[in-house]
């Protein structure tokens, strides 16, 4: 049993533990959200989707930032493990953005009657989703590991730089075409129970994110070792 293999297995185990913790935390948050938060006056119980929706968006954003920053590290240090980590983060990120992009329209339709709005949050998450898709599609299309890592890193960094421009575009667009502010979950005028639930949700999703990424990363390391061994044989 090589030290590499031991290390990878250890990472997988840690990832599993963290994921379970994260899932338990998320479950706890939902219990709190459903039973212990006040029902919002205008929106009704459907507003509680927000406690999944906002943390998922947060998770996607964190995942994206990690991809970008780890990509920069990869180009600097040239360590293949950094590339595997970035790819793991991208896979988790795309899952979180899908959660956000499905809960958002459900919430919107239930409460306000429209499936989609071009507000800042949804728009940004949509872009993150497309960027993740591009990133993962490119990885799938390139065979050589070194090339795949370099290309992914370039796309990751460019995506990171794109985000402020998306923000700026949405901001300029909305000041010219003011739209009804349909989704304003970040209104500071939230009763403390709601705020607590929201923050707990974000904390739970952060743990879940870390758990998923570490688990995925561990599995990627194992895959890598298996492939390497396959070549030698």
């Amino acid at each position: 049993m090589t030290p590499e293999l031991l290390a990878a297995r250890r990472i997988v185990r840690r990832g599993q533990v963290l994921t379970v913790l994260g899932l338990l935390a998320a479950a706890a948050v939902y219990v709190i959200a459903i039973y212990f938060t006040p029902v919002e006056v205008r929106q009704g119980p459907a507003q509680k989707i927000f406690y999944v929706h906002a943390p998922a968006a947060w998770g996607a954003l964190v995942a994206f930032a990690v991809v970008g920053l780890v990509s920069i590290l990869y180009l600097w240090l040239q360590d293949e493990r950094l590339d595997l980590f970035a790819a793991s983060s991208a896979e988790v990120g795309i899952a979180f953005s899908l959660v956000m992009l499905t809960t958002g329209p459900i919430w919107g339709k239930t409460v306000w009657g429209t499936w989609w709005t071009w507000d800042a949050r949804l728009t940004l998450t949509l872009f993150l989703f497309f960027l993740f898709v591009g990133y993962l599609a490119l990885r799938a299309a390139v065979q050589d590991h070194g090339e795949r890592a370099r290309f992914s890193a370039v796309v990751g960094i460019m995506g990171l730089v794109l985000v402020p421009f998306i923000h700026l575009s949405v901001y300029l667009f909305r000041t010219l075409h003011p739209q009804p502010v349909l989704l304003k979950p970040s209104a500071p005028s939230m009763p403390p129970e709601m705020l607590r639930a929201l923050l707990s949700g974000m904390a739970a999703f952060t743990v879940l994110y870390i758990g998923f990424v570490v688990l995925r990363y561990g599995l990627a390391r194992l895959d890598n070792l298996r492939e390497g061994a396959g070549d030698a044989v």
């Binding site: 180009l75 872009f127 599609a137 370099r150 460019m158 700026l168 575009s169």
Partner: protein, 226 residues
């Protein structure tokens, strides 16, 4: 610096000469743009929306699609006989290769736009008049942005199996800020609005160009060096 530019120009000149000799990519892109314009023309209901409202979007969607068609050409030619290796063997700064390809791509996309614009004016009965210099200016500004990003992405995707599909998938999110800015500015120009109303968008476009051209120059060596 002079050496850098000289090499970039040599590469661009070689690409232009190659394209002039075979003409395939350029013609496809031009015909494609013309077709897109025709489809838009038939697809709209002339009574529902005034042409002037729709015009900027139609123009820019046409430019964008035409550009994507033309962009893969520059690095595709380097695949035959491992020509790219031939360039990388030489004492050429990798960024000079990028800038050379950028110049060549700007020329190609510029030609496509130069053909598409008059066709657009013709099909949609748009009165450019006083707005022409402005439209040309914003076209140049926005084009630099997405061609810069498109050039580096095409360098990557030509090595993959599904290059024609991968390029739009990667590039389209990056085209949104310059496209949105260009459409907004074009719309205001056509409506004769004052410059002050466009400043925000123009700043966005300029910042995007500077930011991404710089970034691409910095990052390009990672794409071609093993």
């Amino acid at each position: 610096m002079a050496e850098f530019l000289r090499i970039a120009f040599a590469i661009a000149a070689k690409d232009i000469r190659l394209e002039l000799r075979s003409r395939t990519a350029l013609l496809s892109a031009i015909v494609f743009s013309a077709l897109v314009l025709v489809v838009f023309n038939f697809a709209r209901d002339p009574t529902a929306l005034a042409a002037v409202d729709l015009a900027p979007s139609v123009l820019w969607v046409t430019f964008a699609f035409g550009a994507v068609i033309a962009l893969n050409r520059a690095f595709y030619v380097e695949r035959e006989n491992a020509a790219l290796d031939g360039i990388l063997l030489a004492p050429v700064p990798r960024s000079a290769l990028y800038v050379g390809k950028l110049f060549a791509n700007l020329a190609f996309v510029g030609v496509v736009e130069a053909v598409a614009l008059p066709l657009f004016v013709l099909f949609f009965n748009v009165d450019l008049g006083h707005a022409l210099p402005g439209v040309l200016g914003v076209t140049a500004l926005a084009t630099v942005g997405f061609v810069a990003v498109g050039t580096i992405f095409s360098a990557m995707v030509v090595r993959t199996r599904f290059a024609e599909l991968m390029l739009p998938v990667l590039l389209l999110p990056f085209m949104v800020p310059p496209l949105v800015g260009a459409v907004q500015v074009t719309a205001k120009l056509l409506a004769g609005r004052p410059l002050s109303e466009m400043m925000g968008w123009l700043r966005l476009l300029t910042l995007y160009d500077i930011g991404f051209v710089t970034l691409c120059i910095l990052v390009f060596p990672a794409v071609v060096d093993e």
